[in-house]
Each structure stands twice: as structure tokens, then as C-alpha cells.
């Protein structure tokens, strides 16, 4: 029986979260199509999501640059081919490893932020108060967050691309005798704009889906401090799983 329960529990959680995300997406789309989403609130959410993540993005991007550089330098050492280092760093930082790692860090940050806020509003009965006033809480609280996060994620990813490439360039210069000129020449010669665009598109998708997960989980949080804490944890975990699965789907779907 406990084995059955162990199989059943994750299935229940997955169906619950998927259903809540789908409902959230439908409601947000409906509110957006009827122009009932407050524009000012959406812009405010983009601004504060972006600002909240700026320090995290800088530190995380420097680290991503170093991680990418260590991998790239390993190949440069083994095959003694410094002229492709820039391309390799660009490709992983901008298209593959960069979006994945930044997606994980940013979605944990933004997903937890929005889940925490919504859950806390719910725990202190503010969501019910809005409902009692006849306000459409989905249009006012949820939809701006769902619309804002992809935009914030794209802006942050563009910023992160610049910082991580800079850090990868400096790392290779400091530890591997690959000059910035060689690196940038290699990026200029071999790199494709489409890789950059794919990376940004990935970031937008990650932002959208983790916003759906975070708002769905925040709005269904249990009352009390305990429920708020659990909602945040669950939002972070679900965001990570969603991103990892999306990463796979986008990688395979784009190329194949």
C-alpha cells in the first residue's frame, strides 16, 4: 500500500500543479485579451523583478562565465586550439549552459518571490478582501506577474550574456594565455546570432512557465506561516523541474 502511495503522491502533485498552471494560463490570457490587465502594474512587476535579480544575475553570471571557461580551456589545453575557445565559450554561455544555469537561479529567485508574496497575501486574508470588493484577483494580481516575468527574464538574460562572456574572456586571459583579442575574434568569426536569440527565447519560456507555476502555487497556499513557507519551497522545486524539462524539449525541438 505504501509503495502504491509513493507512486500516487508524485502523480497527484504533478497533475495538480499542471492543472493549476493551465488554469492560470487560460485566466491570464482571457484577462489580457479583454484588456483587463493593469498595464502600470505589469510594468512595475517587470521593473521590480529585474531590479530584485540584478545583483544575483551579476554574481551568477560571473560564476557561469568561469564554469564555461574552465570547460572550454580544458579542450583548448587538450587539442591546443585557442582559436575556437571564443566560439565554444559563446555557444555554452549564450545558448546552452548559460540559459540553463541562469534559468535555474532566476526562476528560483523570481518564482519564490512571487509565490511568497501571493501566499503571504492569502495568509493575511488580503486576497479574500479583494474578492469581497468585487475585484478580479486573477487580472490584478496574477496576470501582471505572468506577463511580466518572461520580459524580465529576457532582459536579465541579455545582461547575463554580456557579463558571463566578459568573465569567460577574462578567465581565459588570466589562467590560460588566451588573449581577449583571440577570444573576441573567434566569437566574431564563428558565432551565430541565432544562438543568441535561441538563448533569449529559452529565457522567456523559462520565465513564463516558472511564473505560471509560482502564481498557481502561491494562490493555492495554505493559511498560516507554515503554509507560506511550504508554498515557497514548492514553487522553487516545481520551477526547477519545469525548467529542466523545458530545456530538454527546446534543445531537441529546435535542432530536430
Amino acid at each position: 500500500m505504501s509503495a502504491l502511495a509513493a507512486v500516487g503522491r508524485p502523480v497527484l502533485v504533478v497533475t495538480q500543479v499542471t492543472g493549476a498552471m493551465l488554469l492560470g494560463a487560460l485566466r491570464a490570457a482571457r484577462a489580457a485579451l479583454r484588456f483587463r490587465v493593469p498595464l502600470r502594474e505589469t510594468v512595475r512587476q517587470v521593473e521590480r523583478s529585474g531590479l530584485a535579480c540584478l545583483p544575483l544575475t551579476v554574481f551568477a553570471s560571473i560564476s557561469v562565465g568561469c564554469i564555461v571557461a574552465v570547460q572550454g580551456m580544458g579542450y583548448v589545453r587538450r587539442y591546443s586550439a585557442p582559436e575556437v575557445y571564443g566560439w565554444a565559450a559563446y555557444f555554452s554561455a549564450v545558448r546552452e549552459v548559460g540559459p540553463l544555469l541562469m534559468g535555474l537561479a532566476l526562476s528560483a529567485r523570481l518564482g519564490a518571490l512571487h509565490a511568497a508574496e501571493l501566499a503571504a497575501m492569502k495568509a493575511t486574508d488580503r486576497v479574500d478582501a479583494l474578492r469581497a470588493l468585487g475585484v478580479d484577483v486573477h487580472a490584478v494580481l496574477v496576470a501582471p506577474r505572468i506577463l511580466a516575468m518572461p520580459l524580465a527574464a529576457v532582459l536579465l538574460m541579455a545582461w547575463s550574456d554580456a557579463v558571463s562572456l566578459g568573465s569567460a574572456t577574462l578567465f581565459a586571459w588570466a589562467f590560460g594565455d588566451v588573449t581577449p583579442w583571440t577570444t573576441w575574434g573567434s566569437i566574431h568569426k564563428y558565432s551565430l546570432w541565432s544562438d543568441l536569440l535561441l538563448g533569449l527565447a529559452k529565457a522567456a519560456m523559462y520565465g513564463l512557465f516558472s511564473a505560471l507555476a509560482a502564481t498557481a502555487i502561491g494562490m493555492s497556499a495554505d493559511a498560516g506561516a507554515d503554509g507560506v513557507g511550504r508554498a515557497v519551497m514548492r514553487a522553487a522545486v516545481v520551477s526547477i523541474v519545469v525548467i529542466v524539462v523545458l530545456n530538454h524539449a527546446l534543445t531537441v525541438g529546435w535542432a530536430g
Partner: protein, 243 residues
């Protein structure tokens, strides 16, 4: 009570050296973390591994027309980089945020003050067993994560590119140092995310939104901590060659 990460780490080490951390509770925490994160870590590593492998193979076929060299490279990359990283990130989201929320809830309900009143160090009772447990659980989670990642790669290569698993899995490419490095990384990630989670919980404002913010801090500090620690450890290994 001081709440900087290094002060916390020092007083935790102090408790560990004096061996007054409740060991049974540490083992229980390790058990809970391991069983709670096992499926999530395996699923995450599996998907990350499959997409990395797919990407590498597709590029290799396009540029070089040969995929034979991917197996050994992938095995080393998965071992030294992605398996420990996914263990760390997952533990930051589950363990770090969970511990931050638990401690913050206790703070909100006055339990921390009650402990302090009885002359008990909240750190020793509430945080130390979890940090020690996470350290153990991360070391235990890394090997299955490696195996799942490698198998996900092998399955991808077989299904999408018809490369036989026997060609793809080249265990000789792995040196003992790679495995040691992976275990060191995972253990440090586990301990760091839990420590940062405890710190976030202890600094929380004692109300419902404070608990939410603490859990959020736990996830954020944890995942950023994992990334920064990963970069530092990579750079150290790159420059010193150890392990």
C-alpha cells in the same frame, strides 16, 4: 546571536568538534533529505544529461561527422560538473528553503526565544543536525545522480543517433580524481545550502510574510552559493590540478 554565514559556520563547527550535535537527528535529517530529493535529483539530472548529450552529438555530427569522442567527454563533464551541480541546486530548493521556513516558523511562534530562555543554542538543536545531514545526503545523492545522467546520455545516443551504449560508455575516461572531485563538490554544496538556509531562517521577521521571505532567501542564497562555489572549485582544480 550573530547571524553572518561565517560566524554560523564557525559555531556549527564548534558544536561538531565538541560532538554535542544530536547524531540521531542528523541521521534522520540525512534520511529525510535523501529520500525526499532522490527522485527529483534523478529526474533533473536525467533531463539535463539527455539534452546536453543530444546537443553535443548534434553539433559533432554537423561539424565533424563523427560522434565517437562524445562518450568519454560527456562522462567527465557529467561527473565533475552537472551531477554535483544538480544535486546542489535541488537541495537548495528543497532543503535550504525548507529549513529556512521551518526555523522562521519557529521564530514566528516564539519557539526560538523559548529555547534561548532555557539556555539552549537554537543553532545546535535546529540547524546543526540538518547541516550535517545534508552533507551526508549530498554525498549519497551524487553517485546515483552520476549513474542516471550517464544512462540518460546512453539512451539518448542509442535512440536519436544509433550509437551503441558499449561505444558511448567509456568508463576508462574517468579518473579517480574526477569522482573524488564530484563527491567533494556535492558534500560542500549540501552543507553550504543548508547553512545558508539556516541563516535565512534565523534572520527572518517573525510573521507570515517574514517566513515567506526567509524561505525565498534560503533558495536564492543557496542556488547562488552553489554557482559561486562551483566556479571557485572549478577554478581551483584548473589551476592546481587537485584532485
Amino acid at each position: 546571536m550573530s547571524d553572518g554565514a561565517f560566524t554560523l559556520a564557525r559555531s556549527l563547527l564548534h558544536h561538531l568538534v565538541r560532538r554535542d550535535v544530536p547524531l540521531r537527528r542528523a541521521l534522520a535529517a540525512a534520511d529525510a533529505t535523501f529520500t525526499g530529493s532522490f527522485l527529483l535529483v534523478c529526474a533533473a539530472v536525467g533531463f539535463v544529461g539527455a539534452s546536453l548529450c543530444w546537443q553535443a552529438a548534434w553539433q559533432a555530427r554537423r561539424v565533424l561527422g563523427d560522434q565517437g569522442f562524445i562518450g568519454p567527454e560527456y562522462l567527465v563533464l557529467m561527473t565533475t560538473e552537472f551531477a554535483p551541480l544538480m544535486v546542489g541546486v535541488m537541495m537548495a530548493a528543497r532543503g535550504g528553503a525548507g529549513l529556512a521556513a521551518r526555523i522562521a516558523t519557529r521564530k514566528a511562534t516564539g519557539q526560538l526565544d523559548a529555547l534561548a530562555l532555557m539556555g539552549e543554542d537554537p543553532l545546535r538543536v535546529l540547524a546543526a543536525p540538518d547541516v550535517l545531514g545534508a552533507f551526508l545526503a549530498a554525498v549519497l545523492l551524487a553517485p546515483p545522480a552520476l549513474v542516471v545522467g550517464e544512462l540518460a546520455g546512453a539512451v539518448t545516443m542509442k535512440l536519436a543517433f544509433s550509437v551503441e551504449p558499449a561505444t558511448f560508455i567509456v568508463l576508462d575516461a574517468l579518473r579517480a580524481g574526477d569522482i573524488t572531485f564530484a563527491l567533494i563538490k556535492a558534500a560542500l554544496f549540501g552543507a553550504a545550502v543548508t547553512l545558508l538556509g539556516a541563516r535565512a531562517g534565523l534572520r527572518a521577521r517573525p510573521d507570515a510574510s517574514g517566513v515567506g521571505e526567509a524561505a525565498m532567501r534560503g533558495v536564492v542564497d543557496g542556488s547562488l552559493g552553489v554557482l559561486v562555489l562551483d566556479a571557485v572549485l572549478d577554478a581551483l582544480r584548473f589551476t592546481t590540478g587537485f584532485p
